[in-house]
Amino acid sequence: MAWRGYLVQRLTFFFYSFLILLVLNFLIPRLMPGNPVSRFVNPLMSPAAQHQILEQFGLTKPLYVQFLLYLKGVFTGNFGLSFLYYPTPVSTLIVQRLPWTLFLTGTATVLAALIGMVLGLLAAWKRGKVDSAAVYSSMALRSLPTFWLGLVLLILFGVTLKVFPTSGYFSTSLLTSGGGVLLFIQSLLYHSVLPIITLMAYLVGGNLLIMRASTLNTIREDYVTTLKAFGYDDGKIVYGHVLKNASLPMLTNIGIQMGYIVSGAVLVETVFSYPGMGLLVYQAVLARDYPTLQGSFFVLTLTTLVALLVVDLLYGLLDPRVRR
């Protein structure tokens, strides 16, 4: 199976998963007890008024018509109006919030991959005490509720020591003082330090374990023994040969992690009041803002599917067995 076959396979998977997402997003509110609007139709309203609301949401039409209308909405980016920020369209909210979530998750993913890669490599190469310390601490990291780590960091560095901001994504004072682009970027980075560290904590643990396992497999291979026998020094073998071969399984793992990273972002943004999609979802939960929840779920899942596709294609480019 060469590159073309691989491409077709990944695109087919993307297509099917997109179909499943479309159907799932349509069915969830309709499979739940009661009809989708029973929660916000006031029972004191007259039956005529209730019917009017149902009609407004298109819920009096046959199911297949509802599905077609839903598809039309999805493909024109129309997810209805938010209850919480009425009458702002859900799509407007999402367009404002999504970039910040992408920034947080993207940075955390890349940094966590690099750190996990180096530490996993070291753990497997050094063995002994370094190795077991690495394994147990990454297990502890994975047993840690991400959002709680965020709360503790926030209390320690934000509230008590006051070295990092406790909320937002840039200093609003910059808006009035009109600081330059550089100051703005500086403020952005400064506000993202704690959220990114929190988000990374879990990812590093998983990456380390996978990198360690794949390094252990790689260094057992003949060519490593041969290089050693020829008297190459450790550094050259590890960074010149083992690293490249052992990091491929980790790249696949990054793809699988995507959904988890998005979940982490929801929690981390809530803790740090970071105005991305996650905070939007949290606010929508508290306000029982169904259209926003529905739209956010759809867009977050779609983003994850696209990210997975990108990682998979990248993997295809890097793995010579596929690239051929």
């Binding site: 297990m139 503790v152 209390i155 396992a213 929690l267 803790v271």
Partner: protein, 292 residues
């Protein structure tokens, strides 16, 4: 009828009776199990340790740091944090273990046919598994959780719905390799039905894998149970560590730096989840399965 046509030595035939004994004979297993049992029993011993009921309001001055009267301080409603901490472990462990059991049943029903049938049905099940593996967990639980409303059973249901894909994938790939083995081919040659082969021949050979994976599911479920409770999808009246953190956040304990209300529940979750991780490591050794 067990066919041994070059088949598996079937580790499970040694029986699970002595499993507990062998589990605790190793420090990992003993510590892991000890920590879990400790936090499961503490809620019942709580009345003997502290005189304040966990949800009783106004038993102390609100927002007070730890003192000898309240070793972990008080909440904004003047509740005793120590009492809440002692009571808070049962809900996550309960929800986690129930999710582990339900998920394992679902894995048996989905993963075995997914690996066994190479035709349409198998491919469809594999595709569904792969897609569910990718869908962002938390937004999905939140969406369904908001529609279903708060109850512990609903929490178990939504957690089960999102926990099965990972173990299912691991088990399905094991089934895929088992079905080429002699004992399965032999059973087929003797005219055994598909159901008989899947659940009589293959299932016993993946039981160990399912058991060890169910522990990973429990850890996952405990962490997500606390997370969704923190986000306000918990059961308001059930004392749990996730709820404690939700109320702390809602009453502004973070902004005013009330660490004594925030640190204990998180350490509790960490301890229980780590306990299950140790148990998992030990079980992996005992059952002879490599998951990664």
């Amino acid at each position: 009828m067990t066919l041994e046509l070059g088949g598996d030595p079937m580790q499970s035939s040694r029986g699970y009776t002595d499993l507990l004994g062998r589990l605790v004979r190793d420090p990992k297993g003993a510590v892991g199990l000890g920590v879990i049992l400790c936090f499961t029993i503490l809620p019942f011993l709580r009345p003997l340790i502290t005189k304040y009921p966990p949800l009783a309001v106004g038993v102390g001055v609100p927002n007070e740091p730890p003192s000898h009267l309240h070793p972990m301080g008080t909440t904004s409603l003047g509740q005793d944090v120590f009492s809440q901490f002692l009571a808070g472990g049962l809900v996550p462990v309960e929800v986690g273990v129930l999710t582990g059991i339900f998920t394992s049943l679902l894995v048996v029903l989905i993963a075995i046919p997914a690996g066994y049938y190479s035709q349409r049905l198998g491919r469809l099940l594999t595709l569904i598994t792969d897609v569910f593996l990718i869908i962002p967990t938390l937004p999905l639980i939140i969406l369904i959780g908001v529609y279903l409303g708060p109850s512990l059973i609903n929490q178990v249901l939504v957690l089960t719905l999102i926990s099965w894909p990972f173990p299912a994938r691991v088990v399905a790939s094991q089934v895929l390799s088992l079905k080429e083995r002699g004992f399965v081919q032999g059973a087929k040659a003797l005219g055994a039905s598909d159901a008989r082969i899947m659940f009589g021949e293959i299932l016993p050979n993946v039981t160990n894998l399912i058991i060890s994976n169910s522990i990973l599911v429990i850890i996952f479920a405990i962490l997500f149970q606390t997370a969704i409770s923190f986000l306000g999808l918990g059961v308001p009246t059930a004392p749990g560590w996730g709820n404690m953190l939700y109320y702390a956040e809602q009453s502004g304990a973070i902004a005013s730096g009330e660490w004594w209300w925030v640190v204990p529940p998180g350490l509790g979750i960490l301890a229980v989840a780590f306990g299950f991780s140790l148990l998992f490591l030990r079980l992996e050794e005992l059952l002879g399965v490599e998951v990664r």
